[in-house]
Symmetry: C2
Amino acid sequence: MPAESLDAFLPLAPAAFHILVALADDDRHGYAIIQEVASRTDGRVTLSAGTLYRSIQRLLEQGLILETRERPAPELDDQRRRYYRITPRGRAVARAEARRLDQLVKLARAHGIVPGSA
Amino acid sequence: MPAESLDAFLPLAPAAFHILVALADDDRHGYAIIQEVASRTDGRVTLSAGTLYRSIQRLLEQGLILETRERPAPELDDQRRRYYRITPRGRAVARAEARRLDQLVKLARAHGIVPGSA
DNA sequence: GATATTATATCCACATCGGATATAGTATCG
DNA sequence: CGATACTATATCCGATGTGGATATAATATC
């Protein structure tokens, strides 16, 4: 996967970025992604159901995530759930987006926007 | 200006962030902002005219920038230009947005998205 | 004087988003 | 065991932000 083609995905939609980062560690189902993102951001980012499921559809179509057949032990499972896993391409896109955001922050710092680091 | 009210502006529209950062150093006119942003990002961010002038209207309404009456020496000026300056509030919002973006990058790093820093 | 560039402004179509709504399975508790 | 709350997925609607096209006109170049 050449680096160029990753650029076609950038800038990545904010919701898509959060979903990919939430799946970076572990496979998760949709509802769990909402909770995980909220938890990790101390409640600052609360993905709505509409945003979540539409984002998941797009990420699947783009091959950035896939739906897994693996499920947890039945006593921990819930038949309604659909579990998702980040793909290598998804990881590469998330990495490229993180780099893009980092450059944005550096640009702001270089022009004195952030005190204590200008 | 309490920190809470800044949150109402977040997340800041990407174009608005770029405009505020471009005005961080110097007053500029619209067309110059497009060129400055393109130059600073090595051509990766090219604000379209439509995006620029609508973004400027919003930033004016929100009090994040203002139009200045000061103009350069007549031989360097162009009567068609409208010059803009970032306000203290605009600077505070840009700073808050930079902080938000930085936290996003840190979150991605904490979950192993960015190699060499996880 | 013709042409290209600079400069501002508006319109249209497309993508993304939050919130509302729908449907139904699962857990809790009296 | 029945009511109620929570979990879980999915779709629809309206609002916002964006690039690209279009318009208009002043300025610079040749």
